[in-house]
Each structure stands twice: as structure tokens, then as C-alpha cells.
Symmetry: C2
């Protein structure tokens, strides 16, 4: 892990930009920890959505809340074709055509085997983040909606030490449908799954299908009114509470 | 409205047992209000589940929380064939055979036109409860799960002044299927709908179907793990918060 630039401190939250050697290319990431943190603590991996990146406002906001409210560590990396990994040749996302069209574009913009590469990148990043003495080998969580679920389901399925996950805003589509459904079935940790009732990208019944596919007995579904990106603030708080409840050993 | 016996006071909650003349028989009910309450306030009507009654522990608990935490009024009446309206000839509910069998038994134990009678009884009770000066014509809510949804959907559909409703643990079955689905489609107030992922009485997809049938744009779904009666305490709190958020004018 190579730290890039100086650590920044914002109201008790230390933010550090790092690079790690990923499967096929350099993988840029951010780790957030409490100021003056010592010793191991729960770590939440944050998977950003499609066309977003490791420091999108909702990622940064959740990371800071997890650090400030709970003393956890949080980390995010750019997905293939996103953030600092964006290819010059990739154009803008289509703004209409529905979920299948946008997911197809997203898939092609990330390149082949994006799911496997992201899985390998998360494992590589996780190993190095845990080498930080102020993170260590505490309880692990994964949070990711939309593309963060498409790439997150296979990661969580491959990481049995993930103790709790927040997923949602996604179904199983196209060429990866069989893969995602099979991986979902092997997930055994508690899951909070979020859907939007008027989602223009992911049909509600496709989201329900993926929720039902989850193998865990401890799964909760929260569906709210509104479009794909209109997850309400109350749900952000519910997700934070859900993670904290499972990460803090009482 | 005839008050029966003395009012009872428990830690700030006044509980009064009343009778009203219902559609076909005497209808027994309870109204809960804050001690020393003066003037109008929000009122939550509580619809109990099958084989339960107006003072089942979860009804009493929710009524007391609504009064103590928010200063609201709450009221419950026995459904046809339930509580003090139980017919001597009605035997015990079947303990197995699945949801359809139990719902069929429930339906026959309530007698024909139970939905219409309960609707009329709620309207009659509501009119008299609102004549109490410490209740008056404040904002109105309905809360009812399972049978409380089967009988509550038609009531809420018939009461446009219901500002917010909590429903769930039910689908549309058998002879009332068409009626319930049509009534659900006319509901326009915000709804929080609760389901249990391992419900042994109401298949999950039947519950999802009824959620999708709701005509309101502002609908939220919360699904938890566990059987029909295993709604977790955290959901009881979420429901209370949801009601309060919509009943308190800010």
C-alpha cells in the first residue's frame, strides 16, 4: 500500500488516499479512521454505484458518520472503469433507455471480467488496510447499493469473514444473472436490502427476486417510494444503525 | 357510547372500556388518552389480528406508547367473532394446514359480510370517539396487521380522512381477493407495510402483491426474518415513529 499525499483531518476523521497493486492495474482507494485511533476496530467497506467513485458525496458522508458516530474504520476503492480508473475512451452513461441499457453500458465500460477483477481488488485492498495498526482484524462489513451490489454480492460471497452487509437497488440481469443469483444464495451473514418502489433502472420484482435469492436466514428488506437515486435520509440512518448493531460486540 | 365500568389509569394513560351500537350487535371497544388531556389530538385506530382482541398485549403496548410518547389518543374494537364478540359455537383456530386453511376458518368464524360489518363498526366507533372532547377531530391514523389489514384495507379505503396507515402480514386470498385488491388500489395516504420473510400463514409473494396493489405513491415496505408473529421490537418502534412523523403537524 502506497499512501498518496498527506492525510487530511476533518472534525475527527482522518482521510488517507492510497494505491495498491490490483489484479490488472493500480487500484486507488481511501481509508477513513478516527483521529488518534489506536488498535483494531470494525471496518466497513463501501462499494460505490455506477458512474460514481470512491469519494462520491454519499460514500464520504457514510464513511464520516461511521467514524464519528461509532469509531469504526471505513474504506472505498474505485471500481473498474470508475473514478481514477476511468478509461479515456469511455463516453458518458446513457441517460435513458431503461435499466437494461444502462447496465449493459456500465458492463461494457468496466470491461470483461469486471466482477472478478473487483473481487480480487477488494481482497487485495482489504489485506493491506488490515495491516494498518489502527484498523487491524476487527469485525468486517460491506455496504454497497446498485453497482455496489452487483459487484458486492460476489465479493461478500467470497469473503466469509464479512459479518454483516447492506445491499440493494439491484437485481440479476443479462450475462451475469446466473452468477449473481448463485453467489447471493451462498451469502450467510445478516443483510439489510434496500429497494426503491419507483426505481426506473431496476424493476421492483427484479429487486425482490435478488432479495429472495439471498441465502441468509437473517435478511431484512426496506422499500421506499421514489426513483433509483432517491433513497431517503431515514434509510441512510437505518443502514448505519444496522451495521453498528452487528459490528459492536456487546 | 356507553362507558363500561370505571376508567383505569396506568402511568399517565387513561383507559376506558366502551360499548357502541354496531351494525348488527353491540360493539365493545377501548379508548386510551393521556391523563388530564384537554382538547383535540391525533387518534390512532388499532386493528387486532386473527384470534386476538382489542386488548391483546401488543395492542395495549402500542396504545400506551402512542399516549405516553406522543400524547395521542388510541382506540381498538373487537372484530366480529373476536374478543367479547366471540360466538359460543366457534371452536379453536386450526393450528396447522397453512394460511389458506386458517384464513378460511377465520372467515367462517366471523360470519358473512365480516368486512362490511367491521367497516361500519369502525365508522360508528370513530364518530363517537371523536365526540370525546379530549379526542376531537385531530389527525387520524390506522394501524393493523394480519386480520387487522384484511379488515383495515377496506376501512382505510372508505375513510379518506385517514392520514397515515400501518398495514402488513396479509395478502388477498379466497373469496375476498378481488375486494381487497380493489380497495387497496384506492388507498392514497402514506403506508408503512410490514412482512415477515418466513411467514407460515401469508406467502411472501402474496404480501408483496398486496403492497404493490396499494394505490398510494408514498408506500414503504419493511420485511424481517421470522414467522408470522415474530415481528421484531425494532419494527414496532419504526411503526410508532412512522405514525408520529405523519400525525404531528410541524
Amino acid at each position: 500500500m502506497v499512501m498518496v499525499g498527506e492525510a487530511a483531518v476533518s472534525r475527527g476523521v482522518v482521510e488517507r488516499r492510497f494505491d495498491i497493486a490490483g489484479e490488472t492495474e493500480n487500484v486507488p482507494g481511501i481509508v477513513w479512521t478516527p483521529e488518534d485511533a489506536q488498535g483494531e476496530r470494525p471496518l466497513v467497506l463501501l462499494g460505490h454505484g455506477g458512474t460514481q467513485h470512491k469519494r462520491a458525496p454519499y460514500i464520504l458522508g457514510l464513511a464520516r458518520r461511521l467514524v464519528r458516530h461509532h469509531g469504526f474504520a471505513a474504506a472505498a476503492i474505485d471500481a473498474p472503469g470508475h473514478g481514477e480508473r476511468i478509461a479515456k475512451t469511455v463516453g458518458k452513461a446513457p441517460t435513458d433507455g431503461g435499466g437494461e441499457v444502462i447496465l449493459e453500458w456500465l458492463s461494457s465500460s468496466m470491461g470483461p471480467d469486471a466482477i472478478d477483477r473487483m473481487c480480487a481488488d477488494w481482497h487485495a485492498a482489504l489485506k493491506e488496510i488490515r495491516d494498518l495498526p489502527e484498523v487491524g482484524h476487527g469485525p468486517l462489513a460491506y455496504w454497497g447499493l446498485s453497482l455496489g451490489t452487483l459487484l458486492g454480492v460476489p465479493f461478500v460471497a467470497s469473503a466469509p469473514d464479512v459479518r454483516v452487509a447492506v445491499l440493494g437497488l439491484m437485481g440479476s440481469f443479462g450475462s451475469v444473472r446466473r452468477r449473481i443469483r448463485a453467489d447471493a444464495a451462498t451469502i450467510g451473514c445478516p443483510v439489510l436490502f434496500a429497494l426503491q418502489a419507483d426505481d426506473e433502472l431496476v424493476a421492483f420484482d427484479r429487486g425482490i427476486e435478488l432479495f429472495l435469492d439471498l441465502g441468509t436466514k437473517d435478511k431484512r428488506l426496506h422499500a421506499h417510494p421514489g426513483r433509483h437515486s432517491a433513497v431517503p435520509a431515514e434509510e441512510a440512518m437505518a443502514m448505519e444503525d444496522f451495521l453498528a448493531r452487528h459490528l459492536v460486540t456487546r
